[in-house]
Symmetry: C2
DNA sequence: CGGCATCATTTACGCGTGTAAACATAATTG
DNA sequence: CAATTATGTTTACACGCGTAAATGATGCCG
């Protein structure tokens, strides 16, 4: 089953640093999210059930480690969107943003560089 | 409120052709989706409540027209994903797909052309 | 050892979703 | 006009999600 948005917030913390205890995760995420301890625990348990994280006892508490990688998650999410909206391909998405004038200078520069590099690797 | 995935399937039909009656929408979407009439009716009613479509009486039935445009919807969805996963910018998404070797020849060719055109418009 | 503190696990609850049955209403036809 | 048909509207229900309270278990301290 797919992991939800709130769950992804927890994963984000773990992707930055792991293993972490529930308390440490709360400390990272509580201020921005205004979550209580129980909320984080619930999310962690759902992530456990989905085998997106692994828990390992550390004395009285658990330390959580991601099993699902960020690359994997990003890939799933992005592919889902591309499939639903752009026939599964990247270029049409970029074209869409281009038409909406939503490409920044920086985007354009980076895209140029990227294509250049693709060239270079012969 | 955002429109859901099942609702988007109905919208998709209406974006291709409108106005359409519930029955016509069902005919378009039923085979692929295995939906009953009631399902489509419910989705249409939720879309009405969300003011994503407009209904206009046509004798005994209604004809439905999209109010939300496809461009708008695509924009919202795409921006959502970019914001959540790529710091709101397009280039990092393309970079991600590039790293995962998920850019097709066609994608690359189209991206080239796109950048070329951006150049040309001075 | 028994009670408090510390974690984790379970249960809860309102809300949206996917899916559809039940019900209402209005037109059609015998 | 009454029964049937065609539509639309309301209600339902299980499930995941966001959020958290209630409960359970475990180790520490006096």
């Amino acid at each position: 089953m797919a992991i939800s948005e709130a769950e992804a917030v927890v994963m984000d913390v773990l992707w930055r640093e792991a293993p972490l205890s529930a308390e440490e995760i709360l400390a990272e995420v509580g201020p921005a999210q205004n979550w209580q301890e129980g909320t984080v625990k619930s999310l962690l348990n759902r992530l456990l059930r989905k085998t997106a994280v692994h828990a390992e006892r550390d004395g009285r508490r658990y330390l959580y480690t991601p099993l699902l990688t960020r690359e994997n998650y990003v890939q799933q999410e992005s592919k889902g969107l591309l499939d639903r909206l752009f026939g599964g391909r990247v270029a049409p998405l970029v074209a869409h943003f281009s038409e909406q004038r939503k490409l920044s200078k920086k985007d354009i520069a980076e895209l140029r560089k990227l294509l250049q590099e693709l060239d270079d690797e012969h």
